[in-house]
Amino acid sequence: MKTIAQSDLIAIKNGSTEPLSRLFQENYSYCVKQLCLQTQCMPEDAKDLVMDAIIVLREKIMMEAFVNENTQGYLITIAKNMLKNKLKRDRRQLEFEPGLVEGYLAKKTNSPILTEDSESKVEIILLALKKLGGKCEILLNRNLVDRVPLRNLSDELGYSSEDVVKTTKARCMKKLKSLIKELMNP
C-alpha cells in the first residue's frame, strides 16, 4: 500500500505542486484503468476524474483532513464519488456553476459552455480580481479555495490576529464587489 511521504505532505501544504505532479504520474495509469473497469467510463473522462481527485487530495492536505493510507485507493474513491455526483445532476444549476466556469477558462471542448453574457461577466470578475491583486487575492484564495482556516492564515500572511484576517477578508470582498460594479457600469 503506497502512502505519501511526510516530506511531500509538508511540501504540498507549503504550496508546492511538484509532489502532486509526481503523484499523478505514478498513479495515473492504474487509476484510469481501474476507473474504466469499475465504472465503464471513457479513458478521457477517467483522466479528468483523476486530475480532479488530485486537486481534492491537495485540498484535504491543506485542510489537514487527509488520512495518509492507500493513495491509489483514496484517489479512486474520490473519483468514483465525483462521478456519482456528476450523474446525480438533476439539481438546478447556477449561472456560474464552478464546473462550467472551469470549462470556459480551460477551454475544454468536451464540457458544456457558458452563454456569451456569462462569459463577459466572468471576464469582468477576473479583471476585477486582477485589479484587486496582491494580498487580497492570496487571502481570498487561501481561505475560500484552499479552505485554510483564518487562524492559520494570520501566521502565514503575517496578520496580528484571526480577527484582523477576518476584517481584512470582508474588506477585500467588499472592494472586489465595488470593482466589479465599476467595470460593469463604466
Binding site: E97, V101, K107, P112, I113, E116, E119, I125
Partner: protein, 253 residues
C-alpha cells in the same frame, strides 16, 4: 450551517441534497449572497484551472523527454565525429555528405510534421454552439436551426441561415467562419474574413478561438511569419490551445 460554510461546501461539491435546497433558497432570496456565490465560483474555477496547469503540465514532460533525446542524439553525433577525425582524409567528404543528408531529413521531417499537425487540428471539428447543446433556445429560432445544421455537419445550411442573421454576435461569426472552413464549397479565405471580423471587434468573446483558427489557416497558406506571430501571442497570453500552439511553434523552428 452558516452561509459561508454552505458556500464552501457548494464550491467543493460537498452539499447533500437537503443542504443544496437550503443553499438554493438562500441564493434566490438574497441577491448579495447570490453575487458572492458568483464571484467565489469564478475565483474557485480560476484557481483550479491555474493549479491544474501547474500540476498536470503534460506538455512540459513531453518537452523534457524530447530534450533528453536531443542530448542523446548529440552525444551519438559527437562520438561519430571523433571517429571521423581519426580518418581525417576520408572524413572531409563523408562528413559533408552526412551533414547534407541530416539537413535534408530534418527539413522534410519538420515540414511533414507541421503539415500533419495543422491538418489534424483543422479536421478536429469545433464543438457545436452551447445554446444548442444546452437546448435553451426556441426550436424555430434561426440560431437554433444553425446550431442544429452545424452539429449535423450540414455546413452549407448553417452558412445559409447565418448569412441571413443581421448584426451577428461573435459566437455567430465564429460558427459562420467555422462552417465555411469545414464546407466543401467554401475556402479558408472566406472563413478568415469572419475570424478577422471577430478579432477587429471590441467584444472579447470568442477572440481566442478566432485567433487559433486564423493561425491554422495562415499555416496552411504558408504564411508562416504571421501564423507564428499569432501562435506566439496565444502562448504568451496562455489563451485557448496555448500548449498545442507551443507544439506547432516547435515544429516551425
Amino acid at each position: 450551517m452558516n452561509k459561508e460554510t454552505l458556500l464552501k461546501k457548494y464550491l467543493h461539491s460537498e452539499l447533500t441534497d437537503q443542504e443544496y435546497k437550503t443553499f438554493m433558497t438562500l441564493v434566490d432570496s438574497d441577491p448579495d449572497y447570490a453575487e458572492e456565490v458568483s464571484i467565489e465560483s469564478v475565483l474557485y474555477a480560476k484557481h483550479k484551472v491555474t493549479l491544474k496547469e501547474s500540476i498536470f503540465n503534460i506538455d512540459h514532460t513531453i518537452e523534457g523527454t524530447n530534450s533528453t533525446k536531443t542530448i542523446d542524439v548529440n552525444h551519438a553525433q559527437e562520438k561519430r565525429m571523433t571517429i571521423f577525425l581519426i580518418l581525417r582524409n576520408v572524413a572531409a567528404i563523408f562528413i559533408l555528405g552526412i551533414f547534407s543528408y541530416f539537413c535534408f531529413n530534418q527539413f522534410s521531417a519538420n515540414t511533414i510534421s507541421q503539415d500533419n499537425l495543422v491538418d489534424t487540428y483543422l479536421s478536429d471539428i469545433h464543438v457545436p454552439p452551447s445554446s444548442f447543446r444546452n437546448s435553451v433556445t426556441n426550436e424555430s429560432d434561426q440560431w437554433y436551426l444553425t446550431s442544429k445544421a452545424y452539429s449535423q455537419k450540414d455546413y452549407d445550411t448553417s452558412i445559409e441561415i447565418l448569412t441571413e442573421i443581421k448584426n451577428k454576435n461573435n459566437e455567430q461569426l465564429l460558427y459562420l467562419g467555422l462552417s465555411k472552413l469545414y464546407s466543401q464549397n467554401w475556402n479558408s479565405d472566406d472563413a478568415l474574413i469572419h475570424f478577422d471580423e471577430i478579432l477587429s471587434g471590441t467584444k472579447r468573446a470568442h477572440k481566442d478561438e478566432a485567433n487559433w483558427y486564423k493561425s491554422l489557416i495562415l499555416l496552411k497558406k504558408d504564411n508562416l511569419s504571421d501564423a507564428k506571430d499569432i501562435l506566439t501571442t496565444i502562448i504568451s497570453e496562455k489563451s485557448w490551445n496555448h500548449q498545442t500552439a507551443s507544439k506547432i511553434i516547435s515544429t516551425l523552428e
